[in-house]
């Protein structure tokens, strides 16, 4: 008996060792080891916060360069648990860029608020490594552990301002909701494993193709639950309840990170996972209906709730729900053009969202918690340059040409129309028109209204930090250049197949 066993161990492990290909994991390992390094650096008594900020940027830079090295043809490693291809590389670059931008806008903000805990950057790096594992995974176990590494770092980052009740509330809320979502996801994974006997995407695909998806209730239920769990992370309606409170309470740079990278990673996973069922005939109706209704609900409810929001951060939270609804329409249309359009949307979304949060971080010298739309009255007179930059970000979010937001929406909706979902595209375009209202409201306040006296909010006190300005200007540059010349980037994304 033991003889048989040692033989199987031996052969099993020989194949696993020979297919390990640690090189594929180079960016992931660099970032996670960087996180450990930063953890140890934060034991230093002095200047640990500064050193860590610098090291975090270096680590993320090296990791993104390493992703270049792995090559563009798909390779699998670790017995099929990791699949590295151009798709996952694009996500690695997106995460590294988000991470670097977050470090840039964090530094001054955190020091000003006396939450300059050096471990913050360590947690940021761990979060980025979790994100990378999520989209490089081709096995649900890796996905789950990656997701947990990400979530645990994010709870702490959101609640890092322990002397501020709102921040603590944000951390706790995000924790409870994430745990709930993880439970959904894990339940789904268990169903999928029970039905197919494997957690590997390719094995799940084989099972679905040979058995016809709809005829295996366990697989069906499992996929549905996985989708539900991820909808929490994406904060698609009706799983969006946590979003405004967490966005409002968490420190601004954390909100900037939270509103971009994890959602993009969740979508990245969904695109990769659902691509396994692309050729299943007939494609399950219920699944399609659910994705479409998630998209429609997210767009409409997000917009409606944003319309009469007075608080800027809450408004942006609801508008981010709407944006994820647009991406959900691309996800619903299940075509290769839709995937490249979604990738373009992610790139655009990073620049717009990080940029706008960077501007808010600069503007809100001391009271970002209650930053209302009224506070921006007459900003154009007092701080014309900053008001102008803010306006560009708002225009881009509203989807006004020739900025990148317009190009992104254009690609997404044309992909939706190409796959025949006309109703969805019409709803999306209408919503995008409605959303212009609340973005333009801020612009009107800034440019057309007289400055308010004693609003308790001194716009003259705004100070420009070097790092923040670097983040803002590079986002602006990307928004304008890619808005005018979107073709090269979309052509690059079109070559990416799943």
């Amino acid at each position: 008996m033991t003889e048989i066993m040692t033989d199987t161990i031996s052969t099993n492990l020989q194949t696993i060792i020979s297919t390990m290909r640690l090189g594929l994991l180079a960016p992931h390992l660099i970032v996670s080891m960087g996180g450990i390094l930063l953890m140890l650096v934060s034991l230093l008594k002095k200047a640990a916060f500064k050193i860590n900020a610098f090291l975090a940027i270096v680590v993320l830079g090296i990791a993104s360069v390493c992703a270049l090295n792995t090559g563009s043809d798909p390779q699998t490693g670790f017995n099929g648990m990791i699949k590295s291809d151009m798709f996952s590389n694009v996500f690695i670059w997106i995460y590294c860029a988000t991470g670097i931008f977050t470090v840039l806008i964090s530094h001054k903000y955190m020091e000003r608020r006396k939450i300059n805990v050096p471990e913050y950057y360590s947690l940021l790096l761990f979060a980025v490594s979790g994100l990378m594992f999520m989209t490089s995974a081709s096995d649900l176990m890796i996905l789950f552990v990656g997701l947990e590494i990400l979530s645990v770092s994010l709870f702490v980052m959101a609640g890092i301002d322990i002397h501020d009740l709102r921040s603590t509330e944000a951390g706790l809320k995000y924790f409870l909701m994430s745990v709930f979502a993880s439970a959904f996801l894990l339940f789904g994974i268990a169903f999928v494993y029970g039905a197919t006997g494997s957690t590997e995407y390719s094995a799940i695909k084989d099972f679905a193709l040979s058995n016809s998806f709809g005829r295996s209730p366990y697989l069906y239920a499992g996929v549905l639950l996985v989708l539900g769990g991820m909808a929490f992370k994406i904060s698609a309606v009706p799983f969006h309840m946590w979003t405004p409170d967490v966005y409002q309470g968490a420190p601004l740079p954390v909100t900037a990170f939270l509103s971009t990278a994890p959602k993009i990673a969740s979508f990245g996973f969904l695109f990769k996972f659902m691509a396994q069922f692309q050729n299943v005939q007939p494609y399950p109706d219920l699944l399609e209906d659910i994705v479409i209704s998630l998209a429609v609900l997210s767009m409409i409810v997000g917009n409606l709730l944003a319309l009469n929001q007075e608080d800027l951060k809450r408004m942006l939270a609801y508008s981010s729900i709407t944006h994820m609804g647009y991406v959900m329409t691309a996800f619903a249309s299940r075509s290769d053009t839709a995937i490249s359009a979604a990738l373009f949307y992610f790139a655009a979304y990073i620049f717009m969202n990080i940029g706008i949060f960077a501007v808010i971080a600069v503007i809100s010298e001391n009271n970002d918690k209650n930053l209302t739309l009224e506070n921006f009255r007459g900003m154009a007179q007092k701080k014309p340059a900053m008001a102008f930059l803010f306006m560009i970000f708002l225009f881009s979010l509203a989807g006004i040409p020739p900025l990148i937001g317009f190009a992104a929406k254009f690609f997404v909706f044309s992909a939706v129309i190409q796959s025949g979902l006309y109703g969805l595209a019409v709803i999306g375009i209408l919503n995008s028109a409605v959303s212009a209202y609340y973005y333009l409201r801020v612009v009107i306040n800034m440019y057309l209204k007289a400055p308010e006296q004693d609003s308790g909010f001194d716009l003259n006190a705004i100070k420009y930090g070097m790092a923040e300005m670097l983040a803002i200007t590079s986002c602006i540059a990307a928004i304008i250049i890619l808005g005018l010349q979107p073709t090269s980037l979309i052509h690059f994304f079109e070559k990416i197949a799943l």
Binding site: I4, M5, T8, E119, G194
Partner: protein, 191 residues
Amino acid sequence: MELTFIKPFMFYFFASLTTGSALMVVIIRNPLYSAAMLVLTFFSLAGIYVLLNSEIIAVLQVFVYAGAIMVLVTFVIMLLNLRSGALINKPTHIIRSVVAVIFSFLLFICLISIFVSGNQVENAPKGVITAAAIESEGSFQLFSRALFSEYLLPFELVSLLLTVAVIGVVVLIRGISGAEENKQAKKGQGR
């Protein structure tokens, strides 16, 4: 001695115990008694795992959940310093509970409709870890082998996850413990 004929009875015993005690966790108003009921839930779950021939999971269940996690739960209850019924008397939002009920019901309908509709493919257990394999090698060996060979990468990632959690705990409790940090907290309040 084969005792397989009592297996179904054992299953129904443990299953009803699990469901019943889980229900009690929610119903009982004293949080400490709820916690005690949770221990019972975990134990009976361990019983179900044993019936499924996976002793190692049963042992881990008792070690981690009934042991360690319950210590934490009790600590949290103590930390919060809840008088009995302190949380219960808060009014609940009717709209919220209605929405919650509607969506849970929708989810329930979705799952039920999936299981009811369609001619099902054979639901025999799949995968490499079959009853025969467990019988010949034991669940402990099978589990360890899978963990350290096929699932090597997730295993290593768990160490990262635990480290992140360690950092998180230390960061979140930083102002409350340690004299040096206390000063910083006072400075923070003074601004």
